[in-house]
Symmetry: C2
Subunit: 489 residues, 2 copies
Amino acid sequence: MAKELTSRSENYSQWYNDLVLKADLAENSAVRGCMVIKPYGYAIWEKMQAELDRMFKETGHVNAYFPLFIPKSFLSKEAAHVEGFAKECAVVTHYRLKNSPDGKGVIVDPEAKLEEELIVRPTSETIIWSTYKNWIQSYRDLPLLINQWANVVRWEMRTRLFLRTAEFLWQEGHTAHATEAEAMVEARQMLDIYAEFAENFMAMPVLKGVKSANERFAGALETFCIEALMQDGKALQAGTSHFLGQNFAKAFDVTFVDKNNKVDHVWATSWGVSTRLMGALIMSHSDDNGLVLPPKLAPFQVVIVPIYKNEEQLTAISEKVNEIIPKLRKLGISVKYDNNDNKKPGWKFAEYELKGVPVRLAMGARDLENGTVEVARRDTLTKETIAIDGVEIYIEKLMIDIQENIYKKAFDYRASVTREVNSYDEFKTEIEKGGFLLCHWDGSPETEERVKDETKATIRSIPLEASESGTCIFTGKPSKQRVVFARAY
Amino acid sequence: MAKELTSRSENYSQWYNDLVLKADLAENSAVRGCMVIKPYGYAIWEKMQAELDRMFKETGHVNAYFPLFIPKSFLSKEAAHVEGFAKECAVVTHYRLKNSPDGKGVIVDPEAKLEEELIVRPTSETIIWSTYKNWIQSYRDLPLLINQWANVVRWEMRTRLFLRTAEFLWQEGHTAHATEAEAMVEARQMLDIYAEFAENFMAMPVLKGVKSANERFAGALETFCIEALMQDGKALQAGTSHFLGQNFAKAFDVTFVDKNNKVDHVWATSWGVSTRLMGALIMSHSDDNGLVLPPKLAPFQVVIVPIYKNEEQLTAISEKVNEIIPKLRKLGISVKYDNNDNKKPGWKFAEYELKGVPVRLAMGARDLENGTVEVARRDTLTKETIAIDGVEIYIEKLMIDIQENIYKKAFDYRASVTREVNSYDEFKTEIEKGGFLLCHWDGSPETEERVKDETKATIRSIPLEASESGTCIFTGKPSKQRVVFARAY
């Protein structure tokens, strides 16, 4: 088979790269660090977008669009923010090319230099808060609940398809509130929405928690996160929701008059998920045969492959298939009938396994005679032969089963590699095996930094539901609750 | 009224700017030439996107995503293309900022200079065809029918909200075909789709035609266009579909093996519409009271305003309204019930007129007694009182009437200012009055250039359905058919 993947046990990282390429999800472009998202990969992303967009709108958010470029001076207005992003900014310095004097191609026209350089947005807090200044005067203008679907650029030195790319696609919500409490409720609400999306649509269990100061968003007072665990035991930050306090309101002088006629700075949140979720989806469920997609995000959920020896058989099978297809579609199930004559059934089976299509139906001459069809599940790789009559009802239920089974498998795996660790020696041994380590920590950035230097593990999450208090396994100082350490993507 | 607009007769251009700002569609940002698309404007754009995306997918196209950046050398590979875009390119030259030595903010790090500058895409033919080279080997890989929704940047010196901005949002289709004929069919098909969208959804009549060489896309062999006419008599190019021949395939060496085992270059099309359509929509239908939106693109189609003297009346009205709303929604009609107590009905009436909501229902105590409701149409500004019973059926029909009436009004206006002109003297007089002038032209770029210099009019379209032949009114040379001249946005 031309498209064979490196196995996960042999080389997980290579398996991932092979899969992204061979399943036609994405590829590297001619521009360093920037990817091309191919149609099949983009179709999954569109499904993700549609569900997230619906969830945002159902909670009162509206979409808008802000400029791609940020004046350099804006970025500097919030001290922690510029510190966090300055080292990875793509900078526009000129606005024109001209013919090269040597007659070969074009060069940058030195006379078309911008007075102030423009940064390609790495995130939009600064340009958005400079805009909000004009939109907010009174408590009546609040809350502002705005989301943007956009591309952003962070000049990463080591890139990996979907997981870390110089340009990526994302959504970024930016909300403004009259009170601290309301902003905090919003930040927590969006965390819950992300968790619901991850678990119910991506079938990916996530931990909800808070980031330690070291891992906090540049400019936030508190960063909430959903943290997922990949099959190789490494953690992946899948979404963040930031409580920004009044930092950006102060940086851009955004004030409002409250009900008591008092002037105060506005309270803010921002929150985002990106095409990184594609990487998380792939690494949560897929296997050595290829992608495993949850039915709720699969570009098509069922593929039907005819097995025939001659034109006559194909015609008879197609007739039957054309009865089934509308019944499936009526139940909201997306179907592809692959009657392409250039490829053998075996090739098609492998191809749709690689592409992660949740259910494959195969129908041959004998099936026609017997009134049966072969149903193959992608998640379990099991097959069974069932009656054609009522197959649509069977498949409708199968979609739910598969969605749940994929989730359960990921959940059980995570449970199997999540454990409490009670000494640094134990920690050092266990961290090599991967997974989430729950341990006591004294709460200091210095301790976290030291553990990171010595073991490459970081605090992925301070769980929202606190455990018992205890003693830091690294310093012996008091600890309020266990936190989650892991090595991470 | 705080939001009063400049009237169209007083100053059309100022009216447009006022309207875009006051109806909360868009505003200028802190970045020169870049706009902020506000939530109400973006909601209209989302409706446009949804319909176009559906039409593209129904004709076999899929979405994908290509990099924001284009290596400078790529742009130079197609001679006409670079000539067309070099003068308006935003150029990324560096990838890092650092703290300024004087301690004030950040500066571009001179050590982080890119080896090759990157251009922020003004359009994506070059990056896409460099990618297609790896995707296409055989006729079996063709056709490739790919669309991208993206932002692009063209450094315009004089910008106007929606009509001409440095950054804008658009879709760009890029297709690859095995034969010239097939590529031509595709280019024509997309022209038809754009025309259908403009007429059936935007309620905006368009001329389908071909661009003259002067107005052709940089790199195309033929540019098809839909051309609309604004209320001030100026033309607006609303969408283009390009037959690119083998130009980009040759520039990026994209070849394929055909059925007869012969190697040939691939044939291409590209086609796009942008947020410029928002400007076209506004200028096609709106009036001195504000926006007039076709029901098919209105963010909400019906607004209901209660008119009450006390809480008791409001409660009774709200009860009735809450019976109507689900009936309307069941028919697919979007409704907003504005029971905000801070604003008077008169303020709300003006506000929703400004926002172009197609139908306004007002209900007062007397309506409740009589079982009636007042129905106001935004397009005609007429009101009538009708029975509440069955109002949803009435409104469903009204949606169709309004959609058709808006189209008819625009169509009749265009007809009234489209006329044949048979001498250059007549042309010079008539062009001052605006509208489409149909006249004979000798087919030469030089003549078109001279007419443009002398009258500011350009050839907007060479109609697909040719008129009689004749004599060029500018030079007396032979003319194959009448073409459409106008001044344009």
